[in-house]
Amino acid sequence: MADNTMGWDEFEIGAMLRSFDGPIKDIALTPQEERNYSPNNSFTASVADWRIEKPIFNKDYCIDCQFCWIYCPDVSIVSRDKKMLGVDYDHCKGCAICVEVCPTNPKSLLMFPEQEDEEAAIASWPEKEEKEK
């Protein structure tokens, strides 16, 4: 009978994944577009197919308050130099928190069906709502 048992030192010791390729320095000061991500980093993956609705950004009404940036669970609001630039549709799961926390009137982020054309959506943007007194 063949001995199929394994010794303690023959098991897999676990997995180690590298987030970046090559040497890295001061990741906390390097914006995402300048990082050398390895294929094991989930940044290189996408969850876009989770969405049925997507947020569309209308910069005309944006006041760069950054509420959407801080409350986005999926690092999908692209903000650089204190300016809100847009939505990262590779990583957005369509939870609509950004739309909920947007304080402008009308909102500068709104949810639209996934197939909606961005220009058409911005053209059909709602007017400013008058507050009831």
Binding site: A15, L17, S19, F20, D26, I27, A28, L29, T30, P31, Q32, R35, P39, N40, N41, S42, F43, T44, A45, S46, V47, W50, D64, C65, Q66, F67, W69, I70, Y71, C72, P73, D74, V75, S76, S79, R80, D81, K82, D88, D90, H91, C92, K93, G94, C95, A96, I97, V99, E100, V101
Partner: protein
């Protein structure tokens, strides 16, 4: 020592480069990643992180992907805190012996765990870390249930919540035991800093995290993390539920310094009734039936009593 990152306002904060990546598998609208981002962005220092088994761990390290841009380890359900404590002890020892490769760097040691891994399963391990005085921070992502395995009750589940092992129905109103006061238990270890935070109060959170990383010794942070799946609300309402929790004082924000001095860090301008907080979540739906309505009153009384106790402790200043 490295300098503390200056974060005066949200615009300044938004220049941070995230060290936590998207395309993790957390539910849409999950507060876990909001909390993790707020913690990691509070500092520019190198980080040594761990996560105990739980939603955060299984969703951010799905082979072959990792969502962490810092040194991160997962071992077991209970020992995320001790793994980081061990790394911290090693760092200290190598530094003393002059064998560190980058002696000028002062990495920060942070362990993340859910309420199951902190309140129940990893309790003894965390208690050990706090007692031994490691220079680390333990952050609990408190969603008041074992969300990862399908919503079993934990000792953080509050009275009246329906969980899969304490379901509400004809004979029961759900969980019957009160939530464990973990912040007080950890403060009783005499640790330099323990605090309660919520993701919607980002400024309060960042202030506490920065203070926690700055002090020498173990730090315990209890972060409320509304769970869209198990608390049963719409993913877009995560921040609304957080606001309800902090403004109804169900989840008061305070800090305890050196194990005794308590400061309340957030006083809502308009305190809203607990009923509104309960009504917003599916897990408390049954409390609005006639036979269980008395529980809502009890909830309010309990929350009021707790708030009174916190205020008195703050006034006493001892």
């Amino acid at each position: 020592m490295s300098e503390m990152k200056k974060i005066k306002n949200l615009k300044e904060f938004s220049t941070s480069a995230d060290r936590f990546e998207g395309a993790n598998l957390l539910c849409p609208g999950c507060a876990h990643s909001i909390i993790v981002r707020e913690v990691l962005n509070a500092t520019n220092d190198d980080l040594i992180l761990s996560a105990s088994t739980g939603c955060l761990e299984v969703c951010t390290a799905v082979y072959p992907y990792t969502s962490w841009d810092a040194s991160w380890i997962h071992i077991g359900f209970e020992n995320g805190s001790t793994a980081v404590a061990g790394a911290e002890a090693m760092h200290k020892a190598l530094k003393r012996k002059g064998r560190l490769k980058q002696p000028d760097k002062e990495p920060k040691f942070v362990s993340f765990a859910g309420d199951g891994a902190s309140y129940d399963i990893g309790f003894q391990w965390i208690s050990g870390c706090m007692e031994r005085g490691h220079n680390m921070m333990h952050v609990v992502l408190d969603n008041e249930v074992y969300a990862n395995t399908g919503g079993q009750r934990s000792s953080a589940t509050p009275i009246g919540a329906s969980a899969t092992t304490s379901p509400a129905g004809r004979v029961s109103y759900g969980e019957k035991k009160n939530k464990k006061d973990m912040v007080a238990i950890m403060a009783a270890h005499g640790i330099p800093y323990s605090a309660q935070v919520a993701p919607n109060k980002w400024k309060d959170m960042v202030k506490k995290i920065q203070h926690g990383l700055e002090v020498e010794g173990p730090v315990f942070i209890n972060a409320m993390s509304p769970c869209t799946t198990e608390w049963k609300f719409d993913p877009k309402d995560t921040m609304m539920i957080s606001d309800l929790a902090t403004d109804s004082l169900v989840f008061p924000l305070y800090e305890i310094i050196d194990g005794h001095k308590l400061n309340i860090t957030y006083r809502p301008k308009n305190v809203i009734p607990v009923e509104e907080y309960l009504a917003a979540q599916g897990r408390f739906k049954h409390l609005f039936k006639d036979e269980y309505k008395h529980l809502i009153k009890e909830w309010q009384e309990r929350v009021d009593k707790n708030w009174e106790m916190l205020q008195r402790r703050e006034e006493a200043g001892v």
